[in-house]
Amino acid sequence: MNSNNQSVIHIENLHKAFGATRALDGLNLHVERGEVMGFLGPNGSGKSTTIRVLMGLLRQDAGHVELLGGDPWADAVELHRRIAYVPGDVNLWPGLSGGETIDLLGRLGSGLDQKRRTEMIERFDLDPTKKGRTYSKGNRQKVALVAALAGNAELFVLDEPTAGLDPLMESVFQDVVREQLDDGKTVLLSSHILAEVESLCDRVTIIRDGRTVETGTLTELRHLTRTSIRATTATPIATIADHEGVTDFLGHNHHRASFSVANDSLGPVLSALSELGIEALESQPPTLEELFMRHYAIDSPSGSSEIDLPSGGASNEAAAGL
């Protein structure tokens, strides 16, 4: 185990099946030290399963997984001293108070700094004397977050950590994560809150059906997509419709139209437009939503982008096993 290794998480061609269900089917994920990696994908695409493999809870069927230079299955106990984990479904002991749970998870996890514990409880506005079963979903989430963030972990594995938090707490969470980054910590963040991903993540990995479909910085990903243009030209605009890279062309009249352009054709299309004499031009960069919609919504043969529980495949099976 070499903690100076630049690669904190290194997953290559990971496979995991639950019975006949292929949860992971050749997934790749690389996280570098000191970055926040956004881990995205539709419900049921395998995010939680991947995270559970990383935490040594599930054993992979095939593929290479390296975590902080070690083997997440064989070296689980030692590795977990350096990792803080917030599960997608936070389940607390009904009879233990929030404070007891924080101490317990901290102590059994990556340690607990008393000063930071007090600070986190205060910042997340948590009442630590309430019993586990009386906490709302958001408060359960806060208990897990305080336990994770008050420790000395070098890697944070956060599975939809802010589901259920109010916007105020959401911003507290982002602040705390940024502070951790300033301290050189690494974060793997699975999230559906795109504003959070946009504001925190250096890079994102998008998965679908247990496979990695896209990975890169947000800027890079934007390049892969399209810009919407609305233009008014002096001469008739209709010819643009046939230009390479132009789609969704909608002519409002002879001189005015809106369409979208593949980003790598943006230059030529703009030149063509200026030859027509641009009178007005509005361009809209792709929003993150559009980016994700593209990856999420494309015809999914197995229908895996249907509504699913946020906890992912494994715990659904557990529930069914009851």
């Binding site: 809870l57 689980a76 108070s97 059994l108 996890g109």
Partner: protein
């Protein structure tokens, strides 16, 4: 008022769907006990009759003297009424224990569909649909009533088919069914009062235990205590002897009253909340909590303490009739002669009774050990194993902490049992008799508990879904204990029950091999299950 019960029908269908396997298994098990008793007793008596060249009725009458004068049998089974009739003998052999088992079926059924559903939050989904406040308990109540009616019906049919008077057969069936319904209705009250399903179920089990103990003491001492127990009421009907009908009215009134109280309590509380409020907890953990073992102890200690109390209570109940058993025999000249001819003294009777009750308490303690052993499964299913195992806690340590408690619980339970028997006997007779011998005999049964629970550990190591198979091992052990001799199982089948190998008499030193072998089996299964657990997926 009608809307208060809206959609009860749909909820009944939901319960039947969710519970189709568990409830079916319970009903099959209970009905099996009821079917097997007449069949085996007929076979036994006719064989004996042929050997002696008399009618089976004569054999029955001979046995009635022996069975009816055995204080141990009376304490376990019920009042020795009409034992010279086949019906009376069947009712006696089916016995108080079966009433308690039916009670258990009802209590667990109610628990599964009330508190457990609320704790999981699923009840909220149901209540959010246009369902009345009482629909939920009405639905589970109706399912329970139907299950008990089915038992009553099967009893009637089986006994009638045996050639008994259908009316009397029906009365006995009704006694079984109504008693089950009383326990179901009482369980419905407890689930309103307690916030946790576990506590509610525990309280209901305590009611069954008290009901059983009251009638045990009452039947042996004939002091009327039995009339304070639903099981006592049911057995007082005496359908095959001088039948009385008032207990039917008492049972029906108890059912109506308990169900009424439950209905009233529903309105006094919020969904998910109990009537007994939860106080706030400490803001920080005590150092003793902060380890895998500390957590396991915290999670299990209340349940274990209740088991200790229950076992002490049960054991003291039997201990208190111990001296009675001796005088029971000594008072009767004829009995003493018979026994002396068989080479048995009053002491032997006492020892025989002790052996019997220690084995029975061991069986009940076994359920406690199994419940403790199942705790890690519950934690895993609730998603609470995950955050601990995501810490620097190895799987062996996490599971080992829970299992250590199960392992230690077994001898602790048995020591408490032995001490309570001796202490209760001592309190009545004024002298402590053979403390070491009784304790030794009690402890000798410990390895059997490990072996049964070990089956569960192995299954858990394999997959959490299989773990409940441990109750099958428990059911087999119980069946062999209660009915193994009666139905004349072959030795090979009898020997499947680990408890049969450690039926040690107080002071006896027989069977050291059995103790060693069962301990080894217990340890091996626990270790094997733990190793398998480190190799499987969690969550």
């Amino acid at each position: 008022m009608k809307s208060g019960f809206a959609r009860t029908g749909e909820l009944i269908r939901l319960i039947l769907r969710l519970d189709r396997i568990k409830l079916s298994l319970w009903l099959i098990g209970v009905c099996f006990l009821i079917v097997i008793t007449p069949i085996s007793l007929r076979a036994v008596t006719s064989t004996e009759a042929e050997t002696q060249g008399v009618t089976p009725e004569v054999v029955l009458a001979q046995q009635a003297v022996l069975v009816g004068n055995s204080g141990a049998s009376v304490a376990l089974q019920g009042p020795p009424d009409a034992l010279d009739t086949f019906g009376g003998r069947y009712a006696f052999e089916i016995g108080a224990f079966t009433f308690a088992i039916i009670g258990l079926m009802n209590v667990l059924l109610i628990g599964r569909h009330t508190r457990a559903e609320e704790e999981s939050g699923r009840a909220e989904l149901v209540r959010a649909a246009s369902v009345g406040p009482w629909s939920s308990i009405a639905a589970v109540g109706i399912v329970a009533v139907a299950a008990n009616l089915l038992i009553a019906l099967v009893t009637t049919v089986v006994f009638s088919a045996d050639g008994l008077d259908p009316g009397r057969s029906f009365l006995f069936g009704a006694a079984l069914g109504l008693c089950g319904m009383v326990f179901a209705a009482v369980a419905l009250i407890w689930v309103q009062v307690f916030e946790y399903g576990r506590a509610a179920t525990g309280a209901s089990l305590a009611v069954i235990a008290v009901a059983f103990a009251l009638r045990a003491v009452g039947d042996v001492q004939e002091n009327g205590l039995s009339y304070f127990s639903p099981i006592g009421w049911s057995q007082a009907i005496n359908p095959f002897g001088d039948t009385v009908f008032w207990p039917l009215a008492v049972l029906l009134a108890a059912i109506a009253a308990a169900f009424g109280v439950a209905i009233m309590l529903v309105l006094r509380r919020d969904v998910g909340a109990g009537l007994i409020d939860q106080r706030p907890g400490p803001a920080a953990a005590a150092p003793s909590l902060l380890s895998a073992f500390g957590l396991a102890w915290r999670l299990q200690r209340t349940t274990l303490a209740w088991w200790c109390i229950g076992i002490a209570f049960m054991s003291a109940t039997y201990g208190s009739v111990l001296s009675e058993i001796e005088s029971f025999v000594e008072e009767m000249e004829s009995m003493r002669d018979v026994l002396e001819q068989m080479g048995m003294s009053g002491d032997a009777i006492r020892d025989g009774f002790l052996t019997l009750i220690l084995s029975m308490i061991a069986l009940i303690a076994g359920a406690g050990v199994i419940q403790s052993m199942l705790r890690p499964r519950g934690e895993e299913l609730a998603g609470r194993a995950e955050p601990v195992l995501a810490g620097h806690v190895s799987r062996t340590r996490w599971l080992g902490a829970h299992l250590l408690l199960s392992i230690v619980a077994a001898p602790v339970f048995m020591v408490i049992a032995g001490l309570s028997v001796v202490a209760a006997d001592g309190a009545i007779t004024g002298r402590m008799t053979d403390v070491g011998g009784v304790l030794g005999a009690a402890l000798a049964r410990t390895p059997a508990l490990w072996a049964v629970a070990g089956v569960g550990v192995l299954l858990y190591g394999l997959a959490k879904e299989y773990t409940l198979g441990v109750w099958l091992a428990f059911a087999v052990t119980t069946f062999v204990f209660l009915f193994g001799e009666l139905v004349r199982l072959p030795d090979m089948a009898l020997n499947v029950s680990p408890l049969r190998h450690v039926t040690h008499l107080p002071g006896g030193d027989q069977g050291a091999t059995a103790i060693v072998v069962l301990t080894a089996i217990g340890l091996a299964t626990f270790a094997g299950g733990m190793v398998m657990f480190t190799r499987r997926d969690v969550g």
